[in-house]
């Protein structure tokens, strides 16, 4: 047993760190440091820089552009990106539909879609949730009816993240309405330019436009765009969601936020004392750091065990990653709100700030803090709410 990184792993970390620092355009980094999100152009630009280095899809099989890194090295890579901070590769392609395609897809699908995911030529979005199917995903109602060499799809998806940029959407659709809940679902790849698709923005409480409603009205999808077998889509979706759990802890993201909190708290004076020097604040922050270290060690335990586990058998510890990871992300956003203090109040959306000549009200870094706090309430809701996660653990691990 040796829980320290090996010399090889440390050298790898330094290599990734050095690369990220030099290769990431400064403008993108600054935007992320401030708590903002990368634009579509930023994402494409950064993904292609990674692709040129051979690092766009590290965890994929080598034949499709992967690196062959160990799970620990993949973890180090993800952490270094997050701590730069650099944008994470677009999950919908790289972590979600890509692995589904190379695991269950046809040769033609692999050839057609995988290279375009690697370079972000295609922007993918996820068509799982529906207005009536949130945490109870299998109750989805979007229908696909076979018509010759096409499916005709009717229904509505919602919470579709960044669908406004998307070229493609992967959808769970009901192909056998008579079958019981999970059994009649298929996994379709749908071109967003298809006639009958309408994207309508949903404005979230932070004022941002991240998620959308996607309406599908008589959308014709070639049968060749179905992944795997008809009515087996639920299996592929479970595979996809299982992969998500490994990256969901966001340890690197939270580490970067804690460094940001420390940097900003060093500039704030409260009662004539630097906020960072106040014992109560330091202890509050240290308490979050302890939680984060525990999460990091749990994450590493899960990764170390991954290679040894039978496929499909879940490590009990992995279900903790979502719950604790989301709680810690939210805790860092609360601390940032505390650091900024009263000048979190002015509502100054980025677009308005960019378009006017006057300086922002309050410190220039303050305007994103409250929206980010509002926005991060999502992390304990999406990907199976934390309550769903608890019920999964109760059933699958504790046997209750």
């Amino acid at each position: 047993m040796d829980l320290r990184f090996t010399d090889d792993e440390l050298a790898f970390r330094d290599e990734v760190r050095a690369f990220c620092r030099t290769a990431l355009p400064a403008g993108i980094r600054d935007k992320l440091v401030a708590g903002g999100s990368p634009s579509k152009d930023d994402m494409v630009r950064w993904t292609r820089i990674l692709a040129d280095r051979g690092w766009a899809v590290p965890h994929w099989p080598v034949e499709h552009g992967g690196t062959g890194w160990s799970p620990i090295k993949q973890y180090i890579f993800t952490e270094e990106l997050a701590q730069t901070p650099a944008p994470a590769p677009l999950a919908f392609g790289v972590n979600m539909v890509g692995p589904v395609i190379y695991t269950f897809g046809s040769e033609a699908q692999k050839r057609r879609f995988l290279p375009r995911i690697v370079r972000l030529d295609d922007w993918w979005c996820q068509g799982f949730s529906e207005p009536g199917a949130g945490s109870d995903l299998a109750s989805l109602r979007t229908r696909a009816v076979r018509d010759g060499e096409f499916y005709v799809v009717n229904g509505q998806k919602t919470w579709t993240t960044l669908a406004q940029h998307a070229d493609w959407i992967f959808c769970l659709v009901r192909t056998d309405p008579a079958a019981k809940k999970q059994a009649g679902i298929s996994f379709l790849l749908i071109d967003m330019r298809s006639p009958g698709i309408t994207v309508r923005p949903i404005q979230t409480i932070d004022g941002g436009h991240e998620v959308n409603e996607v309406f599908l009205d008589e959308v014709r999808v070639p049968v060749e765009n179905r992944v795997g077998e008809e009515n087996r889509g639920w299996d592929y979706a479970k595979f996809l969601l299982g992969n998500e759990r490994v990256t969901i802890a966001r340890v690197g993201v939270s580490k970067e936020r804690i460094r940001r909190i420390k940097a900003l708290a060093a500039q704030q004076s409260v009662g004539g004392v630097r906020l960072l020097d106040r014992q109560d604040f330091r202890e509050k922050l240290a308490a979050v750091e302890v939680e984060l270290k525990a999460l990091e060690m749990t994450q590493l335990r899960v990764l170390a065990n991954e290679a040894k586990r039978e496929t499909g058998k879940q490590d009990p510890a992995s279900s903790i990653l979502k719950i604790k990871g989301s709680e810690i992300q939210q805790a860092t956003s609360e601390l940032l709100l505390e650091v900024v203090g009263p000048y979190a109040l002015p509502y100054q959306p980025r677009e308005e700030l960019d378009g006017r000549n006057e300086p922002p009200i309050g410190p220039d870094w303050a305007s994103t803090i409250a929206p980010s706090y509002f926005n991060l309430r999502k992390v304990s809701i999406y990907g199976g709410s934390n309550e769903i996660q608890r019920s999964i653990i109760a059933k699958a691990i504790l046997g209750l």
Partner: protein, 384 residues
């Protein structure tokens, strides 16, 4: 990075786990507790046979060359059984002082005796006024002809009433809260001028208050630097905290198993109470605390022998914070989910609850270690 135990570690774990499972039932423990010293001489002898008492000492000194991982394996099993014997006091605390500070002659005289189960030691690091500050030492040692004369009081000396000898911190120079000027002295239990008042602790173990009234010890009683012992004391305390974290994980694991068993068998309203979602989610919260604690105990074990005292302190304090918080969370849920029966002395769960509550108060509680971690700028610092 490698989380797999070695073959030797796996073997050690199997044998300690089996020993505890076979010989540390609830009724066994009650019987041991009633014995002299409040523990079992027979179990102590078994630990010696298994090599546990010499585990962390260097092979050259008569030990088995184990590190923090091996100690953690033993302590986790002991936590599961709520073991009463003075393993922490003798092997981890006093043994740690010998490992890090004693000279070759002292080790040659003491380590084989400990390993054979013939010598039990205790460590008097605290005083009535010191709370968790290891440097807060009023007890004084003055140099006299042929050795030292020690006077002062030592509080909460774990198993100090049954120990054959006690190692105490005593001030050879400086004022009460100076970091410099502290030495370590081995005081035999029968030394004239030493009074020991033994008592049971809340968790069923034993401790003692010591009064040293002009106790005379020879020059050979001094362990290490007469004025520079504090770094060793802090190092040993950190090692002991890592060991306590492992013990706590053993306790938590057992508490969760006992509670889950109860949820699955206790019937109310015509069904098992574990079918109620509100109770299921609370059991999950206990499980999350257990796994996070396990992670931090591993981390503390990994860092407990780090040569950089600051890195070591950060890691160990962070782990103790986690363990202390989890002790509260798991402890209160375990009792609550048991309902009335959890309040009774007859049920096992309450005894675990009391032990983990006391573990938080040993060698620094959540508040103490949070402050220590905060003073060291936390765990997430600027990247190189």
């Amino acid at each position: 990075m490698d989380f797999d135990p070695s073959d030797e570690q796996r073997l050690l774990k199997e044998s300690v786990d089996r020993l505890v499972a076979d010989h540390y039932g609830f009724d066994d423990r009650r019987r041991y507790q009633a014995g002299p010293g409040g523990f079992s001489e027979a179990m102590w002898a078994r630990y010696a046979e298994l090599g546990l008492l010499g585990l962390p000492f260097a092979e050259a000194d008569g030990g088995f060359g184990g590190g923090p991982v091996e100690t953690a394996i033993v302590m986790e099993a002991f936590g599961r059984g709520l073991v009463l014997e003075p393993y922490l006091a003798t092997v981890v605390l006093a043994g740690g002082l010998l490992r890090h500070a004693a000279d070759a002659g002292q080790k040659a005289g003491l380590v084989p005796e400990i390993a054979a189960g013939r010598l039990r030691l205790a460590f008097g690091y605290a005083e009535p006024q010191s709370r968790y500050d290891l440097f807060d030492v009023e007890t004084r040692a003055e140099r006299v002809e042929g050795g030292w004369r020690i006077s002062g009081r030592k509080g909460l000396v774990l198993h100090g009433d049954s120990a054959d000898a006690v190692i105490v911190t005593a001030r050879t120079a400086g004022d009460r809260r100076d970091r410099a000027g502290i030495g370590l002295f081995l005081v035999r239990a029968d030394a004239p001028g030493l009074t020991r008042q033994g008592y049971p602790t809340q968790d069923g173990l034993r401790a003692a208050e010591l009064v040293l009234d002009g106790v005379r010890v020879g020059g050979e009683a001094l362990i290490g630097d007469p004025g520079g012992a504090l770094p060793v004391v802090e190092r040993v305390a950190d090692e002991a905290v890592a060991a306590l974290c492992a013990e706590a994980v053993g306790c938590f694991d057992e508490m969760n198993a006992i509670t889950l068993d109860y949820l699955k068998t206790r019937q109310q309203f015509g069904t098992t109470i574990g079918s109620f979602q509100v109770l299921q989610h609370r059991a999950v919260d206990m499980f999350v605390e257990l796994e996070q604690s396990r992670s931090m105990a591993l981390y503390a074990g990994m860092m407990a022998d780090d040569e950089d005292p600051q890195e070591r302190a950060r890691a160990v304090s962070a782990a103790k914070v986690q363990i202390g918080k989890s002790a509260r969370a798991i402890g209160r849920e375990a009792i609550q989910l048991h309902g009335g029966v959890g309040m009774t002395m007859e049920h096992r769960i309450g005894h675990y609850f009391k032990r983990v509550t006391m573990l938080d108060l040993l060698l620094g509680d959540v508040g103490h270690h949070l402050a220590r971690l905060a003073a060291l700028d936390g765990l997430v610092r600027e990247q190189a």
